[in-house]
Symmetry: C2
Subunit: 477 residues, 2 copies
């Protein structure tokens, strides 16, 4: 990393983000427009996200598989809304093995179609249901405006695809997996999210109903951080996925799909980061603790290093790195690991060795407040508690920030103001026109109609007609 | 799975393989020619392969990252041998976002070029070296004759790419990673492999020297099961990957690459499988133990199931599945799990409950020999030992089979005979012509010149000229 400081967030949030992703070596620009290279530090973060999500998928009965990268163009055309939604974003292979292909192949933008084709082959009877399969992989969407992690031509994600005997089961699955995403985001990412239903305009191309988790970034813009779709029988009918029920009658299955992508890394960066760099939640951080030996000469080094090695061994249960580089100063190291968002720094110098203590610095509380000197004895327990505290504190801070930027505007004029620096939570009649008007006037879109909401009586903030439910309006990534 | 038996291996080995992959639900044909769907059971096997390999990569200092799927066509052209080798096998994207692309994009067949481009950007000084990065992902090679796992248009693999300051370091890395593959294949896969150097004809397009691990399948054909390449400065010069050495002089780096793919699943199938189906090595098996309750009525069921649940809990350290399906008979289940290659079957019936025993059946020893009745007490220890024994026995059996099919033909005529049902291990002068003659006459190719071989004096089995080293000739997949 370089010594230059980041552009402060309040000067240019977008520029701060771009610089940070590069400087923290999370990702880099690939030579193909809009594509990214996820560097080892970023990929380690993604692997931790994968591991914690995958565990949750297993608990909910899902298994992993791998479906092909290439999909015949004709497959997409079988589901009308799907092909309309994805057509403008496709990368298409027209040449294979030196010859022009008879049928062009789409590089998968998502896999409902090809998985639907396979499910039609595999599913015969009610005994084969439910099918609960997830896939970790890469997909391609030809985006015009790209940004590392948030919107890239190729990105990494998981896509769950399930098939059920009944509508109710499929609807339950859609909600269950949305709940899994919310639980993951909140408890692993320390990213407070709101679960809700997308509007008709914002739903997935081919879904009956889309749901999402929505998070507020440090600039108050919304980031859709995971989606779960109830697909009804749309894909079942397009791909003829049928089963014999207990009465020996052919029935179409009901399907769902749900995905969470490397975009979530963007959510972590923009939820927690500050002007010094990343702040990673301890549960997902590739490095939870950095241990920095402090010494001025060989004698001090000889005193310090054995203690460093002993403490490293004692803290083996944590993801810990000893930074024993000799070509840079401790000050450089402090800045470097702050930039990379390591939650906890431990310094050990000659005086600490004498006193049997270490100096600790919390990444989430810069300056004196986050500094403490603690005994080496029982350090593992101290560190464990501190990491839990940091995790909780990040979530609390992000929640406070979000809640203080959610407004209940009294009229449309106020709505257009508040969405410039926050979200509006307002009654909406559900009409496309009202949604479109807000978007045109303010660039804010409907994010989601939160699940946890009683039906009440209100007036649409746009047109004044009767409305039953509130929606979040926000400018979004 | 269906009730039909597999075509026996000695009737048609290839057909046995194709049927088995489908029936054991390891993989299926995708709707695009030559592509595969890896089904959950096959993917779980691959995930176990990934986990055990990844652990070895970490121990040897490597980190994971993700490089893009698309590579500009011009990149491949920068390394002459590389583009010549891969050109006929490329899938090419010519349309993106509805428009014809100015420069066609290759779907990566391997990533030396794009990674070389990034390394040139990242590597500045000797302090940045070595760079030791691995990537897990998918690649595409437009093969004409395909076979599930062994040769598919898209396949899954890992590709390691390292850059070093010196030639010696890079050569050592090439051998180290070949050693890692051999250790993995032998100790996890129970697949005995031979480490060796590929001939000039058989080497990777762009390598200075290629090495491989070679295994003998059940039909005596050879399967290249992993490769490790010393790339010299070929890609360093093509992509201008330079560093400032300690004297502040610009130097080209030395690079390596190494890969192991889903092809290894084919190696496991064809090394261990028998006419009843798969036999999976316990260390990699997705299910190590299947527990089958045996009962005729509700009373027996009530007696048996609590014991089944208790034993399941006691064996929690193993990957265990209870098959409590009620719609199929125990006999069907036995065949089903034999087909799927589960190493150990435990049956628990009313008599076992009375006696405090269980019946166990080893997959590697069908019939009486593999059956035993053991006490429920201490079962975890018994099972652990038995799985180790199965693992060792599979390796021993495969090694014996291989060694009994490696021949030392006395002349060329005998060579042409023995390679019809085995490998020939013979002196070779190293000339392309001799290699080509064997291939034309017998379809056997040189597999590798084994590393562990003293230089001796011999005569080339083909031309009779002086030769220093022996090579394996074999028909290969």
């Amino acid at each position: 990393m370089s010594d230059e400081k980041l552009t402060p967030r309040n000067v240019d949030f977008s520029e701060w983000y771009n610089q940070l992703v590069l400087k923290a070596e999370l990702a880099d620009y690939a030579p193909v427009r809009g594509c990214m290279v996820v560097r080892p530090y970023g990929w380690a973060l993604w692997e931790n996200i994968q591991a914690t999500l995958d565990k949750r998928f297993k608990v909910t009965g899902h298994v992993n598989a791998a479906f092909p990268l290439f999909i015949p163009m004709s497959f997409l055309e079988k589901e009308k809304a799907h092909v309309e939604g994805f057509s403008p974003e496709l990368a298409i292979v027209t040449i294979g093995g030196g010859e022009k292909l008879e049928e062009p192949l789409v590089v998968r933008p998502t896999s409902e179609t090809v998985i639907g084709h396979m499910y039609a082959k595999w599913i015969k009877s009610y005994r084969d249901l439910p099918v609960l399969i997830n896939q970790w992989g890469n997909v391609v969407r030809w985006e015009l405006r790209t940004k590392l992690f948030l919107r890239t031509l190729e990105f990494y994600w998981q896509e769950g695809h399930t098939a059920h005997a009944t509508e109710q089961e499929a609807r339950e699955e859609t909600r269950r997996m949305l709940g899994v995403y919310a639980d993951f985001a909140i408890n692993e990412g320390a990213v407070p999210v709101i679960q809700g239903i997308k509007s008709e305009t914002e739903k997935f191309a081919g879904a009956v109903q889309s749901t999402s988790i929505e998070a507020m970034m440090g600039d108050t813009r919304a980031l859709q951080s995971g989606t779960s779709h109830f697909l009804g029988q749309n894909f079942a009918k397009a791909f003829n996925i049928q089963y014999l029920d207990t009465n020996n009658t052919l029935q179409y299955v009901w399907t769902t799909s749900w995905g969470l992508s490397t975009r979530f890394i963007g959510a972590i960066i923009m939820t927690h980061g500050d002007d010094q760099g990343l702040i990673l939640p301890p549960r997902l951080a590739p490095i939870q603790i950095v241990l920095i030996p402090i010494y001025k000469n060989d004698a001090e080094r000889s005193a310090v290093m054995p203690v460093v090695e002993r403490i490293k061994a004692e803290l083996a249960e944590f993801r810990l790195k000893v930074d024993d580089r000799t070509e840079v100063t401790p000050g450089f190291k402090f800045n470097d690991w702050e930039m990379r968002g390591v939650p906890l720094r431990i310094e050990i110098g000659p005086k600490d060795v004498e006193k049997g203590t270490v100096a600790m610095a919390r990444r989430d509380k810069p300056g004196r407040e986050g500094k403490s000197f603690v005994p080496q004895a029982g350090l593992s327990r101290t560190v464990g508690m501190l990491l839990d505290e940091i995790q909780a504190s990040l979530l609390a801070r992000a929640t406070t920030f979000r809640d203080s930027h959610i407004f209940d505007p009294k009229d449309y004029a106020e709505l257009t103001e508040v969405v410039q620096n926050g979200w509006a939570y307002s009654y909406w009649c559900g009409d496309n026109e009202c949604e479109a008007k807000v978007k045109e006037d303010t660039k804010a879109t409907t994010r989601c109609i939160p699940l946890e909401q009683k039906e009440e009586k209100g007036k649409c903030i746009v047109c004044g007609k009767n409305a039953k439910r509130k929606v979040y309006f926000a400018r979004a990534y």
